[in-house]
């Protein structure tokens, strides 16, 4: 079985960041995803978050991150400051609480997750370099709108095209359809997922072949908690397969066939990927589930010519699940790969790493 284990150059630092008993050191720096000119929120080398808000007349202010509300303390001028316990490396959604009002932190940029546009913070990871903005040839992220007769709407999608796309007017490219999770939307992969920078860097280093990535809303967010077993994939499958794919194939220079089409998704987007790929083996040849379940050999008994099955998750999730599933698929003759993101849970840094790993295996 091929198993990719993430070997960070600074693994010790990552492990240290996950420990709540480490001696605090005062090396807080502004989060990389702050609003222009804002010093707060800050993060330190142990992954702690320090937030600050001017609220001179408030009774209490809290930092709400990772499921914990941390009380902040007021100074003489009316600024409230608070520090969280260490967080996992990578990207987290959070908010502030001002006398019971749950509001975005005006110091951070805003991202769609937890079913809202709200604050996000970036805890530097040993491998933050994989999604850094560098002086390399840059692809483009296209915002597009396509007509959807099945929903009666003009729907939005984002399309990454590699840097060379605009230089090679006669070349056609394979396509990855990439889905977000529950309570996220079509902006989540382009923004907090940093798809364009991950792809730019991989392609510049020769680690991935140039391909197109398409991201649209998976119609996930009306599902009630616990209602996944009743989820009907058909409406989204129709939008994706019957409406979006033909639009992409007629408006971008794609290799418009099964061999050159992949689908992957994170969390509920993995659940959707599994349902769509199993229902439509004629459309996709490479499948990816990021913290989004597994395939069994029985699932794929009619998919003998699937080219790649990629299953990943965080080490704080269910690594045995993806590893055992890949072993079983390998033994049944499939090209299956599992990947475990060290030190991360069910959050976006796990999925950035999954994309980083899967992209290197695609369309080769």
């Amino acid at each position: 079985m091929k198993r990719i284990v993430f070997m960070a150059a600074f693994l010790a630092a990552a492990i240290n960041a996950g420990s709540q008993n480490a001696e605090p050191v005062d090396d807080f720096k502004p989060s990389p995803v702050n609003q222009p000119g804002h010093a707060y929120p800050m993060v330190d080398s142990q992954g702690r978050v320090k937030a600050q808000l001017f609220a001179p007349d408030a009774k209490y202010v809290q930092l709400d991150i990772g499921g914990v509300k941390y009380d902040m303390v007021k100074d003489e001028e009316g600024y409230w400051t608070g520090v969280s316990n260490p967080q996992d490396v990578g990207f987290h959604y959070y908010q502030l609480v001002v006398d019971g009002a749950m509001v975005p932190d005006p110091g951070s940029l805003f991202f769609f997750g937890a079913c809202r546009y709200g604050s996000g913070i970036e805890i530097p990871a040993p491998d933050s370099d994989i999604f850094a903005l560098k002086n390399v040839p840059h692809g483009q992220t296209h915002e597009i709108y396509f007509n959807s007769p099945s929903t009666g709407e003009e729907r939005r999608a984002y399309v990454y095209t590699p840097a060379e796309y605009s230089k090679n007017p006669d070349k056609r490219y394979p396509v990855l359809y990439l889905q977000h999770g529950y309570c996220e939307n079509e902006t989540s992969w382009p923004l907090q997922g940093r798809v364009n920078f991950i792809m730019d860097n991989l392609i510049a280093e020769g680690k991935a072949v140039p391909f197109i990535v398409v991201m649209t809303y998976g119609m996930t967010n009306d599902v009630q908690m616990g209602g996944l077993r009743n989820f009907d994939i058909k409406p989204f499958q129709t939008v994706l397969v019957d409406e979006l794919i033909p639009y992409i194939d007629s408006n971008f220079r794609t290799l418009a066939n099964r061999e050159n089409r992949a689908m992957a998704g994170l969390s509920m987007g993995g659940f959707e990927t599994r349902l769509v790929t199993l229902a439509r083996p004629d459309v996709f040849s490479r499948y990816g589930l990021f913290s989004g379940g597994t395939y069994s050999p029985d699932d794929l008994k009619d998919h003998k010519d699937v080219k790649l099955v990629f299953m990943g998750c965080g080490s704080k999730e269910f690594p045995d699940g993806v590893n055992n599933a890949a072993t079983a698929l390998n033994e049944a003759g499939f090209n299956a790969v599992s990947y475990v993101s060290e030190g991360t849970a069910h959050e976006f840094h796990t999925w950035r790493r999954c994309l980083y790993e899967m992209a290197q295996l695609l369309f080769k």
Copy 2:
């Protein structure tokens, strides 16, 4: 003199919306730019804004819009609700104040203005249709990054290409370089300016010829208040003329010459447009100032072959200024057009209308 006067179908409604003495009627509806699933903030037919926030332990909550803070009132469950006076039609930045903390309203989408990403609200205008998302062929808004040796950075820009761009691989297009104002950035025209929908609709109706629009950060926001007279255009002019334009011309199918290149900007972006076009008559042939000053015949004495000078503003700004400037230019033999946006001030709806009007005159 050619003078375009905006004649709204429902001018009476717009005038009514501007009156603070109108009898209130209870017809509040969710703002069109709310977060998914959020009922608040709401707007009514008189242009009033009703905000609501759950803040059970707050001492006071205020709605801060149009330079006025409106006290909100708490109900038994802890929800605070408040209503503003009527606002002008179109788009406005606003915020909430919770016990002195100035925070974004979690009910609204977020936009970059007032030097921050924060809340925005849309007061329906009689001509909202000009920027509506319709079932017409849609262009694409490309997010691009270009290398800038003069600033040592990878810089971002947004590029609108018309719907037919992807269908006509051998056709080349003229380009409008379009600048935002002070305390805005490269996202302001694509988001609150709704450039893509304005252009899609104009082109679909045959009112504008298809052209490309490029929007990047004008390096405006480090200027101190009152420091405009000391503003040095050179750093931005270098980025625009020596770095961005060559990048656009080599990565998009442009008509890469002066005849097919226009520059326009709003407010401080108009100020920049004036400086750049006067300094580099070899680069642009059509100039647009939206609430951003005027040109005199003397300014243009060395620009005899300028093809179009467009100067617009809101009726609540300095309409005589743009009208008189156009008259003087026309008398001096220039093709100058002035435009006054009825019922609006120094805000984005004025500039959407300026783009809508100028786009119909460009490259014909």
